[in-house]
């Protein structure tokens, strides 16, 4: 390894050189459209994903406003229209937004930098993955503007066989998006396995990498099952092969098994990267090594593997045998333990720290609050006797929004605030960042907490109209959703505005010890001029704040990173 001197390690000198920056190294549409640079692909994903998030969010607000009145608020939203709205909200949020959110946008940008590499293992496959995402999104838009899909994002048979809406366009979209996800996962597995620099052993990897790695395993193993299932569904509709259609001797419950065999592991595709971000944020902003590194790393792998064995808990009242329901319930509880361990470890990391309540840390603390509620309410659903009552009610809706939105999306936005200075080289307004974090937090709880209550009171999900006694909870939820919408738009606006008037970001504004902070902000096209020195990812002893730079620099006189960093 080349000798590392302090000022090549933090490439301050190159910040002024426009050619050293990946954003400015080349210009023109094609330089982006045909780029193989993981950072540009990550940025393109980020833009696309936020487009999908915005669309899904608008659909959600329409749903919530419609539910202000028991018989519906707007006359232009018919029963059919409502069913289409919730289907598209779910499908867009799941397939276009949350599955690719952290891995494809932040993971693409950060992962190669974290391993000190120039790019991912297969840059062309990475670009192909992005274009598959775009094509998948186009198919979804076709389903949206032509006949309007109304099956729910779950495509349950036999309804999805007989509905007149464009199921085939949507399943093609989901099929293509599946390959996009597989390509990303495969890329990351190979990158982590083969491209780690000398000195970065498995247990010296940042925990974000562990999380992305565990996610990638699920993406590669589970997603093909979704592809096959959706192809079978298409074959059922077009060729009437009679595998799911009961009128031809098929079994509609088989579809649910196939579907959830992918879609349950898929919820870990969604949450694991969020947990990875959390491990980074909690450590950096507490200025303490992560507590219980090994347990957190193993728990990611445990979640990835156990996640494959619990799909039947979506089907406790579907008609599957009581024996399989009991087994799936038991396995479901086993997967709750690794998540609990992570939460305890994150909180313990704060002990005796020096906690910087910057915006990303505010999101991280929100995550702990919301994810704890989301995780704990899973216990009610994993227990068979209570699930019989709560299944397919708003309790479930609230539970998975607390995990998926309160967990993944909050971690995603927190991670975005954390890496934003690295990605675009600008600092955002810290005050407004925190304000909108608070608005999101309040709006989120107001939206989804009342849904727990109305769910346990018996309000079924996917209802366009409802019994009047549930109106109070629906109205609270709608007010919350509007607040949440304002908060989210504000949070994104703070970031976008910073692009125009943000203070120039130093290489390492937060004092983080992972490798991506050793290159300039934004990184040069080739990421690292010299191979960076690999230390412990959570050892902050040598990093000192330098007011002149506005960020942290490694003290050249500090003792070398200790080996017992975790």
């Amino acid at each position: 390894m080349a000798t590392i001197t302090p000022d090549t390690q933090i490439d301050i000198g190159h910040n002024d050189d426009p050619n050293s920056n990946y954003l400015t190294s080349s210009r023109g549409f094609l330089s982006w459209a045909l780029t193989l640079d993981h950072k540009r692909i990550g940025v393109m994903y980020l833009v696309g994903i936020f487009g999908a998030f915005f669309l899904g969010g608008v659909l959600a607000l329409l749903l919530r406003l419609q539910l202000l009145m028991p018989e519906g608020t707007f006359s232009f939203i018919s029963l059919d229209r409502y069913n289409q709205l919730f289907t598209l909200h779910g499908a867009v949020m799941t397939f276009l937004f949350i599955i690719p959110s952290v891995p494809a946008a932040l993971g693409n940008f950060v992962l190669p930098l974290m391993v000190g590499a120039k790019d991912v293992a297969f840059p062309r496959m990475n670009l192909a993955s992005f274009y598959l995402w775009v094509f998948g999104a186009i198919f979804f838009l076709i389903a949206l503007v032509t006949t309007q899909l109304d099956t729910g994002w779950t495509f349950y048979t036999p309804y999805s066989i007989e509905t007149q809406t464009n199921v085939i366009a949507a399943t093609c979209g989901a099929f293509i998006l599946g390959f996009s996800s597989i390509f990303t996962g495969l890329n990351f597995i190979v990158t982590v396995n083969t491209m780690r620099p000398p000195g970065m052993t498995w247990f010296k990897m940042p925990l974000f990498m562990w999380a992305i790695y565990a996610t990638a395993i699920i993406q590669v193993l589970a997603t093909p099952v979704l592809g096959i299932t959706l192809l079978l569904l298409t074959a059922e509709r077009v060729l009437h092969i009679g595998i799911f259609d009961p009128s031809m001797g098929g079994d509609p419950v088989l579809f649910q098994h196939f579907f959830w065999f992918y879609s349950h592991p898929a919820v870990y595709i969604m949450i694991l990267p969020g947990m990875g971000i959390m491990s980074e944020l909690m450590s950096v902003y507490s200025r303490k090594p992560i507590f219980g590194y090994t347990f957190i790393a193993y728990s990611s792998i445990a979640i990835a593997l156990l996640g494959f064995l619990v799909w039947g808990h979506h089907m406790f009242v579907s008609g599957q045998s009581p024996m399989s329901a009991v087994i799936f319930s038991g396995l479901t509880f086993s997967v709750s333990i690794p998540s609990a361990i992570k939460v305890f470890n994150w909180v313990a990391t704060m002990y005796k720290g020096n906690i910087n309540l910057a915006t990303p840390m505010c999101y991280a603390l929100s995550f702990i609050f919301l994810f704890s509620i989301g995780g704990l309410t899973g216990l009610f659903l994993g227990a068979l006797a209570t699930d019989i009552h709560l299944h397919d009610t708003y309790f479930v809706v609230a539970h998975f929004h607390y995990v998926m939105m309160g967990g993944t999306v909050i971690a995603f936005v927190g991670g975005l605030y954390h890496w934003w200075p690295k990605m675009f080289g600008v600092m955002y307004n810290e005050f407004w960042g925190r304000v909108f974090c608070a608005v999101v937090f309040i709006g989120f709880n107001l939206t989804f907490f009342p849904q727990f209550i109305m769910g346990s009171q018996g309000m079924p999900r996917r209802y366009a109209t409802y019994a009047p006694e549930f109106q109070l909870y629906h109205d609270l939820s709608t007010i919350g959703a509007l607040t949440l919408g304002i908060g989210m738009v504000g949070a994104i606006a703070v970031l976008v505005i910073s692009l125009f008037n943000g203070r120039k970001a130093p290489a390492n504004p937060w004092g983080a010890a992972t490798l991506e902070w050793t290159c300039t902000s934004p990184p040069p096209y080739y990421n690292f001029e010299h191979a960076p020195h690999v230390g412990s990812p959570y050892d902050y002893t040598g990093l000192k704040y330098d007011p002149q730079v506005g960020g942290y620099v490694r003290d050249p006189n500090a003792a070398p990173a200790s080996e017992s960093g975790h």
Binding site: D80, Y82, N83, G152, Y156, P158, Y159, P246, S247, G249, P252, S286, R287, K288, F291, G292, T294, F295, G319, A325, V326, S329, G330, F333, S336, I337, A340, I341, F344, V347, A348, K352, G353, N354, I355, L357, I368, S372, I373, T377, L379, F380, G382, A383, L384, A385, T386, D387, I388, H389, H391, D392, S456, Q457, G458, P460, R462, A464, S564, H566
Partner: protein, 344 residues
């Protein structure tokens, strides 16, 4: 209600926030488990958030404060907080699954109601033949719901009973409950405060309107209601009502109405016979005699089938006592038999 303690009061408050009233014998168990998990979760949630808040305030970055070294892992602490939650979720699993098995196995003597789900309506068929679109149940008796779907997936959900089961096309599913309180008194639904029955599995356009009401009666009143509901004799022309009874009471299995004299039918054909004479062998006799098929002959043949056996047939018909077939029903069947013409 004089013996409500503070704890009971507390759980009643929690119940009214989170649950509809408990109206089946399962509901108490389900809510009990729910409350157990609820307080457990509350404990851990408060613990986590209190620790987080305390640390965030105590160790907040400020001039003069810096991080202090502390161990970055602690095996025994980490094993403790892995093992204790594992034990607790084991307990939750155990109660969840024993409660669930109780909900799956209906007692042998349960009153069975057939539930038919189709887009977007429920219909219920009772053992006495009554059919309704709202659900009526006897209080205090186990009731089994045998579910079928005519088209897509539906789900039979009564929140007040805490039961739910999908209706799957092409197979039977079932669930059961013992309603533990009536919704009101009287056979008529006036004055009842019924429970909701929802379709809980998305089934297309009018999914949210696939609802029904559940009425629970005193057992005696339920009998009366079911009798009245099944009593289509009052409402239909006698011949039509008789045709329904002829099917439903099983007459059709042994008596042809198309003139089929083969041994496929144990009894003689009954069409075109009204007012004609036939050869019968009276009980205790061995010589045939002629008898006219009229009202009294039919009535006698139903109440005492062995009294006169048509020549060439074996005695073997069920004795229809008044509890199996009452006089009004016999009158309707007679009207039906009168209407049956000879096959060309």
């Amino acid at each position: 209600m004089a013996h409500i303690t503070g704890l009971d009061m507390h759980s009643i408050l929690a119940d009214t926030l989170f649950f509809p009233p408990e109206r089946s014998t399962f509901a108490g168990d389900v809510d009990g488990l729910f409350n157990f998990i609820y307080y457990l979760c509350l404990f851990f949630f408060v613990l986590i958030i209190a620790a987080m808040t305390y640390f965030a305030i105590k160790y907040c970055a400020r001039p003069g404060h810096s991080e202090k070294p502390s161990p970055s892992h602690n095996e025994s602490l980490e094993i403790t907080w892995s093992v204790i939650p594992s034990i607790l979720v084991g307990v939750i699993f155990f109660y969840g699954f024993t409660g669930y098995l109780n909900m799956r196995e209906a007692p042998e003597d349960a009153y069975e109601i057939q539930v038919y789900a189709k887009k977007w309506q429920w219909s219920f068929k009772y053992p006495n033949g009554a059919e309704t679109t709202e659900l009526h149940l006897p209080a205090g008796k186990p009731v089994k719901f045998l579910e079928q779907s005519a088209d897509v997936l539906h789900s039979f959900y009564i929140p007040a009973f805490r039961i739910k089961m999908d209706c799957v096309p092409g197979r039977y599913t079932s669930t059961w409950a013992i309603p533990n309180a009536t919704t009101g008194s009287g056979i008529s639904i006036d004055g009842h405060q019924p429970y909701h029955l929802f379709c809980a599995e998305y089934c297309g356009q009018q999914h949210s309107q696939m609802r029904a009401l559940v009425y629970v009666h005193e057992p005696a009143e339920f009998e009366a209601w079911a009798e009245k509901e099944a009593n289509f004799l009052e409402t239909k022309p006698p011949a039509e009502a008789g045709a329904i009874l002829f099917q439903r009471k099983g007459c059709v299995q042994c008596h042809s109405v198309t003139g089929d004299r083969s041994t496929k039918y144990l009894g003689p054909p009954l069409n075109g016979q009204w007012g004609t004479e036939r050869d019968v062998i009276p009980r205790g006799s061995s010589t045939p005699e002629k008898v006219m098929m009229d009202e009294n002959y039919v009535r006698e043949s139903i109440r005492q089938p062995m009294a006169k056996i048509v020549q060439g047939r074996k005695p073997g018909m069920t004795v229809f006592t008044p509890s199996l077939l009452n006089d009004k029903q016999i009158t309707a069947i007679i009207a039906y038999l009168k209407s049956l013409k000879d096959e060309k």
